[in-house]
């Protein structure tokens, strides 16, 4: 170990701070997972093996709504597709090969990528990415176990409003992404289309169908936006 220079200490403190704050809400995932009908092992397997928060919440959300579990997988994969782009963005900074890449890949999530991209040089970028990723991984899994055990012992989750907590969790994940009006409009279209599909389609379909409609609307908006910006 080389002596730490002050900028490194800042990276360490910031990364662990994000790690603790994010890992802690694993407890809410564990609780809503068991409230949605999964057992403690299934909740823990999702955190250990899927390890990307929004996808995990989506999986239990679809299962809780009575959707086929594989529809839950599909929704989780669609949400997980952003990690593909995170990975591609981080790859030049991480420069990992072989077995290291196999391990590192599991840590590619929202927060580790954000912390990794926020640094000045690639050495600090790697440090921030790894510290954030590992601290979230450890804490997220421990807190999932705690939340799942607590949730499974509470009895009827409806009495404690845990079914309502799932919607709040999705909203809290969505909130930071609603920074401008096109995103807000896309979100409204997605919510409206999904709601409209509920009476007519199998459980799980409204989410994917509503999401697809909203993505198409977003693309149309973007195309118009580009056309407006083009100098005539």
């Amino acid at each position: 170990m080389t002596a730490e220079t002050p900028p490194d200490r800042r990276v360490v403190v910031d990364s662990l701070g994000v790690g603790v704050a994010t890992g802690a809400y694993g407890v809410s995932f564990g609780a809503v997972a068991t409230a949605s009908g999964l057992d403690v092992w299934q909740a823990c397997a999702l955190s250990l093996l899927v390890f990307t928060g929004a996808s995990q919440f989506a999986f239990v959300g679809v299962v809780a709504a009575g959707g086929a579990p594989l529809t839950g997988s599909l929704t989780a994969l669609l949400l997980g597709s952003r990690n593909l782009f995170y990975g591609a963005t981080m790859a030049p900074r991480l420069e990992v090969r072989g077995w290291r890449r196999l391990v590192t890949a599991h840590l590619v999530i929202d927060e580790s990528t954000a912390m990794g991209l926020g640094q000045d040089d690639s050495r600090q970028s790697r440090l921030a990415f790894r510290l954030t990723g590992w601290s979230i991984f450890v804490l997220w899994n421990l807190m999932t176990l705690a939340g799942a055990v607590a949730g499974s012992r509470l009895g009827d989750p409806r009495t404690f409003g845990l079914d309502a907590a799932v919607g709040a969790a999705f909203l809290a994940l969505l909130w930071p992404r609603l920074t401008a009006w096109p995103q807000r409009l896309v979100a409204l279209v997605g919510a409206a289309a999904a709601t409209g599909l509920v009476p007519w389609t199998a459980a799980g379909v409204p989410v994917i169908g509503g999401g697809a409609v909203a993505v198409v609307v977003g693309l149309v908006l973007a195309r118009r936006g580009v056309a407006i910006e083009e100098p005539s």
Binding site: Q42, L46, A54, G161, G190, P199, G209, G210, V215, L219
Partner: protein
């Protein structure tokens, strides 16, 4: 093995492959503007759809109940910049309270 376990493993393998491929393919392959736009839109679109279904659907019926009140409380907490855990468990507490009263 139950369908739920199969679905968990499918989600796990799929999500891992997405992460691994991202680290492995040359970045320019993913730099198509439409692909980037779709990738940015998917979380917004899907999360919004999930919120709506989670709060309004009861099977195939649309209902306004304690969950809607809880969501309104969540909006309020988010506007107040409350942390994630406060939003989630605050909403749960509101739903529980509404049911207790109602």
């Amino acid at each position: 093995m139950s369908t739920t376990w199969v679905a968990i493993l499918v989600a796990a393998i799929g999500c891992y492959v997405l992460k691994y491929v991202g680290l492995s393919v040359p970045q320019r392959l993913l730099e198509h503007p439409v692909a980037e736009r779709v990738a940015a839109l998917i979380p917004v679109a899907l999360l919004a759809a999930l919120v709506a279904v989670q709060v309004l659907a009861t099977g195939h019926e649309l209902t306004l109940d304690a969950r809607a009140v809880a969501l309104a409380a969540a909006v309020g907490l988010l506007l107040l910049r409350a942390p994630f855990l406060v939003v989630v468990f605050g909403a749960a507490a509101v739903a529980a309270l509404v049911r207790l009263i109602g």
